[in-house]
């Protein structure tokens, strides 16, 4: 793209006063692939950070806020480069018209993928302004030194950013082949003022004072209320429909029936509840929905007995008939997101001649995906659709799909007024795309010193990234020939053996599936870490030293985490009495994030319950940009570990979803909380690797291993109930 058009873009966004620009493409997708995957390159940050007249740094937050507070960390990086305080950055959540397309916020990738492009943009801006400061001061550039919010000379003549940026607006160019300026944020020798410091999440005041930050809080003139009936599974078709009772309800504006879509629009929320209750639907299903069917479909032993699994992930001198020391089958149940905010969306159609024919307010992990899907759904061009992303009341992988948005769009189109759709909690469960059930067979053989000789791990799970309707129908069978990147997460163990084979198969399950925190990582690593712990127990070895030995020096960062958590756990004495136990586990999320967890549990025979008393975690996430928020993500993952290990089970039966609210899908509460001890292994010279879904891979097996230590019971199925013991 020529520089002139780049300039034009910045001006057209209504944003430019001063800006940095490299080359970035306003790309359209060749095929409509969901979710939006366009990761930034070294020049992308130009569109997100600028200094405006008055010297204020404005920043378009390139990530969706859903509790991970990644934008705060990214703003710290910008602030470090510009020698300002993160609190002085004016952050703006961009709509789809403000910035070039952004990737879906997912995969614990925000700091990993976005920190460097932002640092380059901010540093380019700083150096461009330094040139102007030099001209203004009549000094060579080398004599213009950094100062807070600007520059100074050695004799303390000062020029602030405000002095350098006026109303005319200009663009600081950096050609792509030009050297990247010095990046302060990534200079491990540098004394930093922003990066590495525990800054409060930007916008935190709104969150404790009742500010309007979520979709359903957005005020809208003339809004009416709507909702559609959610099918138990997306590919269900309406078999019979009776809407005759709807007209009896006061406040109904309209009933909308389009194929398998049926919904209502009313003047008040309670009228919506009453009208929806009057709609009687039965569904035609393509597969029966019940637990026996799910168990049958993921039966790893049946599949492995029939031959190789579909995807061979590791194959090194495999032996089918070793003398197995451990030969265990693990089953992991379906779990769902259960974010605290049930999804909501507001859609408004505007008359021809308006800037945008369709506007949508929604809390989504993928705003540009929503723009694309709304365009396909309505026949409007993408440029006629604008998405205003709102803060999410929790994401966890569950908010990547055009669903509540679709409901709002179709209902708003039908009534010609803005429509707010607020899903009920039951809708939220019904429409959830859950983490699939999976079954895992692990066989390990060892020599007479106890070292691993053979490792054979096979597992079967529902699809994750290639789940139904996550890709266009024509693309799905093609895509599924290759490895599903969600299904393979966590599959390769950190342990070394001369003979190793890992194989897996992903299958269609009768419920809707998708991305859940850590994808398959937590399931696979539960199986791997349980099996290794069992081997250590059988050999009478201390599990931490045993596991580190079996890594054979290949995983120093993981070994360091495990040794650290061992030390942390030893700070607290485990009671000698019966029923107490301690367990350890470690894991690598996505090949880049390293974590270890220890758990102390009490198996309480009197009250017939399993209590997690204390959890320790040591995590190496590379450079800790914001240690406090990194710690917050670890805390969150540890709480989820308790849910996954002991509480959460997504119930299906009788051809529908039975889990409908928090009384029949149990998530951790305050009374379930153990004490926590967390150590962050800071690696200032290594790039940040992400934290959003990391510790969850090690927490559940640590709890399971602690139960083994406490009671002798090896958990082969999650969640673990006291009755199992």
């Amino acid at each position: 793209m020529a520089s002139i058009s780049r300039r034009k873009f910045l001006i057209a966004t209504g944003w430019v006063a001063a800006g940095v620009t490299g080359v970035y493409a306003l790309g359209k997708h060749a095929v409509a692939v969901a979710p939006t995957i366009i990761f930034p390159d070294e020049t992308s940050g130009a569109a997100w950070v600028q200094i405006r007249p008055g010297g204020v740094c404005h920043m378009f937050f390139p990530r969706v806020d859903m509790g991970q507070n990644a934008n705060t960390g990214l703003a710290q990086i910008v602030a470090e480069e510009l020698n300002i305080d993160v609190e002085d950055i004016q952050g703006v959540r961009p709509s789809t018209k403000d910035v070039p397309p952004l990737a879906v916020t997912a995969g614990s990738m925000s700091l990993t993928a976005f920190s460097r492009p932002l640092a380059i943009a901010a540093a380019t801006l700083r150096e461009g302004l330094r040139d102007r400061a030099a001209a203004k001061l009549g000094e060579p550039v080398a004599a213009v030194l950094d100062d807070v919010g600007g520059f100074q000379t050695s004799d303390l003549r000062k020029v602030s950013y405000a002095d350098l940026v006026d109303d005319t607006g200009f663009v600081i160019e950096r050609e792509v082949d030009q050297a990247v300026p010095a990046l302060y944020a990534f200079d491990s020798a540098r004394q930093k003022t922003q990066v590495g410091h525990p800054k409060s999440p930007l916008g935190i005041r709104d969150l404790v004072t009742g500010g309007r930050v979520y979709t359903a809080d957005v005020p809208m003139e003339g809004v009416v209320y709507g909702r559609a009936v959610q099918p138990p599974v997306r590919n269900a078709r309406i078999a019979s429909l009776d809407t005759s009772g709807v007209s009896k309800i006061r406040g109904v504006v309209t009933l909308v029936e389009e194929g398998d879509f049926v919904g209502v629009v009313c003047t008040t929320p309670s009228a919506v509840d009453k009208a929806i209750a009057q709609i009687q639907v039965t569904w035609d299903l393509q597969q029966p929905i019940n637990e026996e069917e799910i168990r049958r479909l993921v039966d790893v032993d049946a599949k492995m007995a029939a031959g190789d699994l579909e995807h061979i992930l590791q194959d090194k001198a495999h032996r089918r008939n070793a003398d197995w020391s451990v030969d265990l089958r693990f089953d992991v149940q379906v779990q769902t997101h259960a974010a605290q905010e049930p999804r909501a969306a507001i859609a408004r159609f505007n008359d021809a001649g308006a800037d945008h024919r369709l506007e949508i307010w929604t809390g989504t992990q993928d705003p540009f995906g929503m723009q694309r899907f709304a365009s396909m759904d309505t026949g409007l061009s993408e440029s006629d659709v604008v998405i205003y992303p709102q803060r999410l009341g929790g994401g966890f992988g569950g908010r990547e799909h055009y669903e509540v948005e679709r409901d709002a769009v179709r209902l708003a189109r039908a009534v010609g007024r803005p429509v707010k759709v607020q899903w009920t909690r039951a809708d939220e469960f019904m429409a959830s795309r859950s983490r699939p059930a999976s079954a895992h067979r692990i066989r390990i053989a060892s020599d007479d010193q106890g070292n691993l000789t053979d490792w054979w791990y096979g597992y079967v799970t529902g699809h994750v990234v290639f789940a139904r309707e996550r890709l266009p129908g024509w693309l799905l069978p093609v895509a599924r020939l290759s490895d599903d990147s969600g299904v393979v997460k966590g599959a390769i163990a950190p342990y070394q053996a001369p003979h190793q084979r890992v194989e897996c198969e992903d299958v269609d399950l009768p419920i809707d599936l998708g991305v859940w925190r850590s994808l398959n990582g937590a399931s696979a690593i539960f199986a791997i870490e349980s099996a290794m712990d069992e081997l250590a127990v059988l050999q009478g070895k201390e599990p931490v030293a045993f596991k580190i030995a079996q890594m054979q020096g290949e995983q120093p960062r993981l070994a360091h985490c495990l040794a650290s958590v061992h030390r942390l756990s030893a700070k607290r004495r485990l009671p000698e009495a019966a029923g107490y136990g301690r367990g350890f586990a470690c894991g690598i999320y996505d090949g880049r994030c390293f974590v270890a967890v220890s758990a102390d549990v009490f198996v309480d025979e009197v009250n017939q319950q399993i209590n997690v008393l204390h959890l320790c975690c040591a995590q190496d996430a590379g450079m800790a940009v914001n240690p406090d928020q990194l710690r917050a993500q670890i805390e969150s993952n540890l709480v989820w570990s308790i849910g996954m290990a002991l509480l959460e089970r997504f119930e299906v039966a009788d051809n529908t979803i039975q889990s409908s609210n928090f009384d029949n899908y149990t998530i951790p509460r305050m009374r379930n909380m153990p004490t926590l001890d967390i150590e962050i292994i800071d690696q200032p010279s290594l790039p940040p690797t992400g934290a959003g879904e990391v510790a969850l891979v090690a927490g559940p097996p640590a709890i399971a291993n602690a139960i083994r230590d406490a009671s002798g019971f090896r958990a082969l199925s999650l969640p673990i109930r006291f009755a199992d013991i």
Partner: protein, 156 residues
């Protein structure tokens, strides 16, 4: 119908008399800080105080609070914008992740400290276990309650 929320009297139009208190607060009176999450009193996101007692506003009709005093999260800070000690403690400890449950958590914690000025861990477990936080900020909520309670004891 008139309802008094945060010391201000509001008129509730006839079309809204059959709604829950939560719906009226959010959709009719423009007080969106109180959240809808479960709708059956299982999660505590919608906790407000009615005549000083914490209630799930998703479970009660607006008609039930006629002539009563309702306090919501919006009424907690001082008129000059000064934060309540609980809100300040929540910021000091960086409690919120997604933040969605936090209005309800703070309103529930307010009731706890009102009854129990120096709450123990067991008091906190008992009082706060009806308030879900899917992000798992419980450890920080516990710390913040203790911190705010200390501030409130020392200033009262």
């Amino acid at each position: 119908m008139k309802v008094k929320v945060n010391e201000v009297e509001h008129h509730v139009a006839a079309d809204w008399h059959e709604e829950t208190l939560l719906t009226v607060l959010r959709e009719h009176l423009g007080l969106a800080g109180t959240k809808f999450s479960c709708g059956i009193g299982q999660c505590g996101a919608c906790v407000v105080h009615v005549d000083g007692s914490p209630l799930n506003s998703c479970l009660i009709s607006v008609a039930d609070v006629e002539n009563k005093d309702v306090l919501t999260i919006e009424g907690l800070a001082g008129g000059d914008g000064s934060l309540h000690p609980l809100q300040q403690a929540w910021i000091d400890e960086n409690v919120p992740q997604c933040g969605f449950c936090q209005s309800g958590q703070i309103m529930q914690a307010l009731a706890l400290i009102g009854d129990t000025p120096d709450p123990t861990d067991a008091d906190i477990d008992r009082a706060m276990s009806g308030n879900l936080c899917r992000c798992g900020t419980y450890d920080r909520i516990r710390k913040s309650i203790k911190k705010a309670a200390l501030v409130m004891r020392s200033t009262s």
